[in-house]
Point group: C2
Chain length 137, copies 2
């Protein structure tokens, strides 16, 4: 069976990572060192795939690496308690909300800027256009 002893390339394909990313996660200690075949190549099994998918999912959710590390610790605990994971999630959620608010404000400003230029300069640039002034603060 090919299940026990996947190459890094296979593991990558099954977890939406790249081989380089997997090596990187190993280097920073998110992934334990895996066994090597006689040829010196890394060999991955199901537990590593599961861990990689977990990491990948957390990253897709925008958790920074250090949060992922903490979430992995929760997962690894003998009796995993979701409570600290929930705390991390809520804290992260606040960050996401704050950032989204910023982007919404940005969007309004940029939209207004572009619109004012479009109006003033419908038929070629005019001195009435305030776009550059708005960029001057």
């Amino acid at each position: 069976m090919a299940i026990a002893g996947m190459t890094i390339g296979e593991a990558a394909a099954r977890t939406q990572c790249t081989p380089a990313t997997i090596r990187y996660y190993e280097e920073i200690g998110l992934l334990r060192l895996v066994g090597r075949g006689a040829n010196g190549r890394r060999a991955y099994g199901q537990p590593e795939l599961h861990r990689l998918r977990f990491i990948r999912r957390c990253r897709d959710l925008g958790f920074p690496i250090e949060d992922v590390r903490a979430l992995l610790d929760v997962m690894d605990a003998k009796t995993p308690s979701c409570l600290s994971a929930r705390d991390l999630t809520l804290t992260h959620l606040n960050t996401v909300r704050a950032r989204r608010d910023e982007l919404e404000a940005l969007e309004r400003t940029l939209t207004a800027m572009a619109a004012s230029c479009t109006e003033a300069c419908a038929s070629g640039a005019t001195p009435d256009c305030t776009l550059m002034e708005e960029l001057s603060g």
Copy 2:
């Protein structure tokens, strides 16, 4: 008057930058080299302040440095045309919108995850909690 010949610290205070950031902008060529006093220290005047505020405003609006460089080129042009500035603005706006959409989706997912844990674990962690499973993908 103190206007011609501000130190980097004064210029920084008046533009919401830090001295290190100003030196950095000089290093990457957003800011021209300014004159130095007999003591070898940089001396800033009004034109530099204006340019710094422009840069700062663009950065606050989320434009990447290379866009700022292009916007400065527009500002520096003999007959500044806002049209390419508007193009940059619209392109940037699309990026902002896309990112905001991502963050909104993230927000929904994270909110649902935290809520499901809060419900299941109102009185201490329970095995019903699916938070960790949701993180496993």
